[in-house]
Each structure stands twice: as structure tokens, then as C-alpha cells.
Symmetry: C2
Subunit: 428 residues, 2 copies
């Protein structure tokens, strides 16, 4: 078949009709030009990859994304932390779909780089106010009953750069210290039952095996509720930067409490006030006092498309129907509903949930929007099953002042410009 | 701190007590030797990775597994197919946890290798008995309402080698043409509404853009029920070997009907009887007739640990408590319950579900087992919400004979030997 000599097939003509009628494409001249250039690839013409064999089996015993997706990657901000060895990379939320974050794209936060731990030599010690202190190997841990749960993981500094009005260009940077995985491991309560906790004990210190000895104090209530000692993530063993071979997960709580490379759990009767719960991860209020042990990540949401990375600039650039979608989450339970505004919070329409709706998990929402081509202010506002409503910036600042960099969950605004580009703006 | 001069700490002594008491470890001399060799790594001694900095941020913009997990990979069987270009690799089920299969480890089946498709040049044509035939770009497709669903994907030849009594050593090969991902895309019914289907139409041909032009006939009922045009898998765009940039997913149906690299959907009023639904993917019965269009994957299950790859040989090798776990699935809906036998089907105990339980999805189950150290025959038997009970080999052969290689879902048996090793045996 000679691709170049082919005439436009009827289906091709219909495509143009389809785009112009249903998708709001304008500018017939531009369409005709595009269609001509692409003719060689269009059915019923047969592209080169349909007329050849591809590489065979086992060229990739562990598969990788297409080379055409190389732009989808974690990114950091050079100026955010004092040293690269204690920094953050951000999840590329704009390019992700559904609620599972691929393990290779889960944001990273660490305080002394990524230790390379040999799992056969790693040990987890559980001691302190217990009857039977133990030191577990990974093989030991695998012999306890396990559970698998889909839960989000978020750094409490997520959005912190926006707190006082910074406007990062891209949802990867405004909200990208966020992920959601299926975590598998042993409930901490199962292990505590094994060691026999002193009835007077009320706190647990979790300590990491990395060079920073990252450690946080965890109340016993959380340990006995849903805290997990986790060894697997999205079906396979944890990734090195996510705590391989074992970490703590406190569902719905600040990511830093989910201590990675977990080496030691000490049972006690008061918090330890270690470095990372005093110099960091406390919230300075307007009156000079600081909130401490603010573990829960409050109800939050963001529209991931359109966004600065996903302008309204597809084939049907310009007015027409678009699928507006995003993510909602709450550290207190399930998302109950999400409303979307296209006019900066004046009017609202309820979005549909398009994924499973698990507690303390990301929930994907979407809504169809017939864009008239004029500038618009897009917002999402989530409500969780406790009835908590995501606040405006004005409400958040009234309650917490402007000193904190943690626990920013104010309603976010994307401005859609007339040319389809999307900007980050703040509406109080 | 001088690691080498450290005495065993009290916690270390307790570890031995723990393993001997709770985990069934025998042989005190061996324990003492192991403990001495490992002393340098044990808390409160501080291993080298806790006394140093690891590599910093953005060494891996797209993360990879630990080098200690390099053995967890897809594998194939050289003799299974006539040519490597049309072959199969198997998911390493024994090493996986939860229900999500990491995209890099999802089994592959293809008929002409893996095409490398430029998504900006790929087109999906929908034509035939419709009012408005269309040709969609990937950008067009992204503008339709999307859904994300966790669904299993299985080749109907999964277990086919066992049909007449072959005994593959490893759950990777007995059941590894199996996976489960969160798939995101557009419901086929949404697209069919857009093109306007002729009321007399009853079948759809799905054709791939690979060199084999892989194609299957799909009944209209399925298309209007839950079939999806999928572009994302576990949060990111499809992997090349899974159909990048777009494929069909028919939840619960034979993997081959979920045509990859989807290029064309033709709407018609009868099946096409293309190559891959006549020479293959039909089931020869004992009387010489063949079942055709046997789309549904029946209720099935398998224990993934213990298994040949996961012998009872951890630190506490020998009798004691173990966590027995596995996967159950049904193409007809949710798994309702799973029973486990430790005596080759004489007596049964109900397992717990330890993951989310979605329809047409893998479901993870587990049960604690106190092994007395003598040989045992482990089986799992699943029941789905339609009441269908996974059959024995005798029941399956009575119904279908022994000619078929597709739709083997008989109860599988692992023999645990006295030394903790695990063998594949068949009990009819």
C-alpha cells in the first residue's frame, strides 16, 4: 500500500466533523493542514509498526515506561532545602491517572540520603516497656499475618510554598509531595501483642536506620489502631527511597511519622521530643505558640487536569468539551464528596468519583466541562466523612496565621486563560 | 562504637527466645553461631549504612527496585511457543504482595513482538455499522470522561501446562500468566454513544496495531457493559508491552480479547472468525467439538506462599507458625470466600481477605498455620458471588475432557515436605 498517494478516507472526513461538532475545534484551514501531514499514519493506511515485528519476549525482565513518556518524572526545587542530601522530589501529578502512584514516581523526602540496606542483615528491634523485647529479621516479619491497604502518603509541607502566596507553576510543585500506594505489611498492633506492652505505656518511638536516625514519637492509640509495619508497596518490596526493606506507615498522618528504613521501636510513657518533632514538623501560630504533634493530614483536593502542565491545547484547542479531573484525600477517613467551581467559588457542581473510594486514600474525581473559551477560575472543594469541609485561604489563615509551612490544605485555584494555558492564582 | 567488641545485648537473647518459643526454631548450636556472625549488624550495634550519608535527591527521577530484588523478574519458558516473537513471560507471583501487580512485572503475551508506537501518530478508528465513524487521536480520547478500575488480567492458557498433568516447579509458571492493575480509560459504551451504533449491530471487531494485526470479535453486550478503552495502568501511561498507547480491557475476560495497541473497532452484526478465534482460543472437547467464544475466566485461586519459590525455610526453619497466603479471582464478579486445606482436601478452614475486594479483581487471602513439621498437602478453593465453586481436577476433566489448554481453573495442590521444601503435585 502506498501511504503517500492515499486519499482521505470517509472516516477522516468524519473525524474533522467530529472534532468540530463535538470537541469544539475551530479554524478549518488549520485542520486541513494537520490532516494532510498526518495522512500517512491514519487508518486505513498502515503505519510502519503494523508492518513489522517488534522485539520479542524477555528483552525486559523488569519492564520500563515507553521512551515517549520520559518527561514523566520526579523533579525537585533546588532552593527548597539547605542541602541536596536532605531534600525532596515531587510526584508528577499532572501526568498520573487513577489513584495508584507508580512506585518509580512516588515523591521522596529524606534527611541523610538513601541508605543501601542489605535485607538479610537488617534488623528491627522492639523494646522498652514490654514483656518480651525482640529483634526481628525480615524473614521473621514475613511470618506474621499481613494486610494490604491502599493509603495516601503526604508530606505535611505539601503546599507550604503557597502558604504565604508563592505561586509555583505546576501541580507537580503545588501538590506533588503526595502519593498513594497499596501497602502490605504487619499491623503494628499484631507485633505489640507479641511483645506484651506494659499497660502504663502510652508512646512509641520509631527510629530509622538511615544516617539521620530519623525518629518520631507515635501515640499508642495510633499504634493500636491502624499503624502498619510495611515491607511492600504496589505489590513488590519497598523501593530503596521508600524505606527498603521496612518502614512504618501511619495511615492519614504526616509522611515524616511513617519512618523509613525502620530499625527500632521503643515503647515508653511519654514523647521523646527528638529533633524532627521540635526543630521541624511543629506549626508556629500567629501568637508565637507552636502546635506540636499535628499528625493528621486534613481533607484536601486539587484539580490535576487542566493545570499548568495540562493546558486546554489538544487537537481541539479552544472551546468545547473537556474532562476536568483531580484528586481528593483526607487523613480522617473517606472522601464524601467533591464540588467543582468554574467561576472562582461563586457556583459549584458536584464531581463524580471515578476510582475506588477507600479511607485515607486518594480518590479520583472528574466532571465534564463545556468550555466557552473565556477565562475561568477552576477550584475543587472536598468534604470527608467526618463532615470537615476543605477551607478557603482566608479561613485557613484566620485559624492558623501565616507562619506555618505545614498543613496547608486551602482550596486551590487554577486560572484557565483564553488561549487554553493555565496559571496558578490565589483567591482568598 | 566498636561493633566487634560488643556483647550480645539482652534484646538479642530475647530474639533467640522469641524464635525458639514462638517461631518454632530448633537447634540451639546453629542459632548461637548465626547470632555471633550477625552481631555486628544487630541493634544496638550501628551498621555502616546508619553511620553514613546515602546518595541524594534526583539520582533516580524514575525509581527502580533495590539491587537486592533483582531476582524478582518476569521469566519465560523456552519451549512453550514456536517462536520468541510470539511468546509469553510469566509474573513472579511468589514474590508479590497485595493485589496490585507492578507494571514492570505484568506477564506479557504477544503475537508479533512489541511495536514501538509514537502516541502523537497513533490513531483509533471506529467505523462500520455506526452513524458517525470517527478517527481519534490520543488527545481526543483524553477529553472523554474516564474511569479507573482495579481488574485482573489473565491469559486463558494460564495453567494449561498442568491440564494433562505437567508439573511446573514454581507458582510463577503454574499461575503466572496473571496480573491485576488499576486501569484508567474511557468506557467503550461512552465512545459507542458518540458514534451512534446501528440498532441491528451486535458484534465489534477489535484490531491491534502490532504486526500480527491481533483481532478478536466482542459481543455488543460486553461493549455496553464494562469494556474499557484504556490508556493508563497503575497510575501512569500503559507500558509498551501492555499496549501503549491504548488497548481494550474486557474485565474478567480472556486476556487475548483485551486487544493491545488498539487501532480499529469495527461495528458489525456477526463475529469475524479471525485467525485468533479459530486456530487459537477455542477449546477442543473430548467428543471432537470445540467450544468457541469462551470469554469468561472462571473462579480460580492459588497459594503463593508457601510455594516452590517460598519454602518454609526462614530463620525459624522447621515447625512453627507461618502465614499462608495467596490470590483468588473470578471473571464473573467478587470473590465471596476462600477455603484452605492442609490435608489435600479432606478438611477445610476459611481464609481471611487481606486486601480490598473488588469485582473481577485479584483478592488477597491469608491464614495462619501452625505447622507440625510433617508433610502436608496445601490447597485453596475459591467461591465467587454467583455461587460458582472452583472445581477439582476430576470435576474439570469430567466436564471438559483433556484436550483443551484453555480455562484450567482446577484446585491446585502444593506438597510441603518435611524439610520445608514445596513441590507441585496433582490431586484429582
Amino acid at each position: 500500500m502506498d501511504d503517500k498517494s492515499k486519499k482521505l478516507a470517509p472516516a477522516e472526513l468524519n473525524r474533522r466533523k467530529f472534532l468540530m461538532n463535538s470537541m469544539g475545534l475551530v479554524g478549518g484551514a488549520a485542520v486541513a493542514k494537520t490532516a494532510m501531514a498526518e495522512e500517512a499514519f491514519l487508518p486505513p493506511a498502515v503505519p510502519s509498526w503494523t508492518r513489522s515485528l517488534g522485539p520479542g519476549v524477555l528483552t525486559n525482565p523488569y519492564g520500563q515506561p515507553s521512551k515517549f513518556e520520559a518527561h514523566v518524572q520526579r523533579r525537585n526545587v533546588e532552593w527548597l532545602t539547605a542541602d541536596k542530601i536532605a531534600s525532596i522530589s515531587f510526584t508528577p501529578l499532572a501526568d498520573l491517572k487513577g489513584i495508584i502512584t507508580p512506585s518509580g514516581l512516588v515523591f521522596e523526602r529524606y534527611h541523610a540520603g538513601i541508605p543501601e540496606i542489605d535485607p538479610s542483615k537488617h534488623r528491627l528491634m522492639i523494646h522498652g516497656m514490654v514483656s518480651n523485647p525482640i529483634i526481628l529479621t525480615m524473614d521473621d516479619l514475613m511470618r506474621f499475618p499481613s494486610v494490604s491497604r491502599i493509603r495516601f502518603l503526604e508530606c505535611p509541607a505539601n503546599g507550604g510554598m503557597e502558604w504565604r502566596g508563592a505561586q509555583m507553576e505546576g501541580v507537580q510543585f503545588t501538590h506533588g509531595m503526595l502519593s498513594c500506594c497499596e501497602w502490605t505489611g504487619v499491623l503494628l498492633s499484631t507485633i505489640l501483642e507479641e511483645v506484651g506492652v506494659d499497660p502504663r505505656a502510652s508512646w512509641i518511638l520509631a527510629e530509622g536506620a538511615d544516617g539521620s536516625h530519623m525518629s518520631r514519637s507515635i501515640p499508642m492509640e495510633k499504634a493500636l489502631d491502624d499503624a502498619m509495619i510495611v515491607y511492600a508497596q504496589n505489590g513488590e518490596m519497598l523501593r530503596p527511597e521508600q524505606g527498603y526493606p521496612v518502614r512504618l506507615i501511619n495511615p492519614g498522618w504526616e509522611g515524616n511519622t511513617c519512618v523509613k528504613w525502620l530499625r527500632r521501636l521503643e515503647i515508653g510513657d511519654k514523647p521523646w521530643y527528638h529533633r524532627e518533632e521540635t526543630s521541624k514538623y511543629t506549626d508556629l501560630l500567629a501568637d508565637g505558640r507552636a502546635r506540636e504533634f499535628t499528625y493528621e493530614q486534613e481533607c484536601n483536593s486539587v484539580i490535576t487536569s487542566p493545570s499548568p502542565e495540562k493546558p486546554l491545547s489538544g487537537k481541539g484547542k479552544g472551546k468545547g468539551k473537556y474532562w476536568v479531573e483531580g484528586l481528593a484525600w483526607s487523613g480522617r477517613g473517606r472522601i464524601k464528596h467533591v464540588d467543582i467551581s468554574f467561576d472562582g467559588g461563586v457556583s459549584w457542581r458536584e464531581a463524580k468519583f471515578t476510582s475506588v473510594v477507600e479511607p485515607k486514600s486518594l480518590t479520583r474525581f472528574g466532571i465534564e466541562w463545556d468550555w466557552d473559551g473565556s477565562p475561568a477560575m477552576l477550584q475543587s472543594r472536598s468534604v470527608d466523612e467526618t463532615g470537615y469541609v476543605q477551607p478557603t485561604y482566608a479561613q485557613l489563615r484566620a485559624a492558623r496565621g501565616t507562619n506555618s509551612i505545614y498543613h496547608k490544605n486551602a482550596i486551590h485555584t487554577w486560572k484557565v486563560n483564553a488561549d487554553g494555558s493555565v496559571s496558578n492564582v490565589q483567591i482568598s
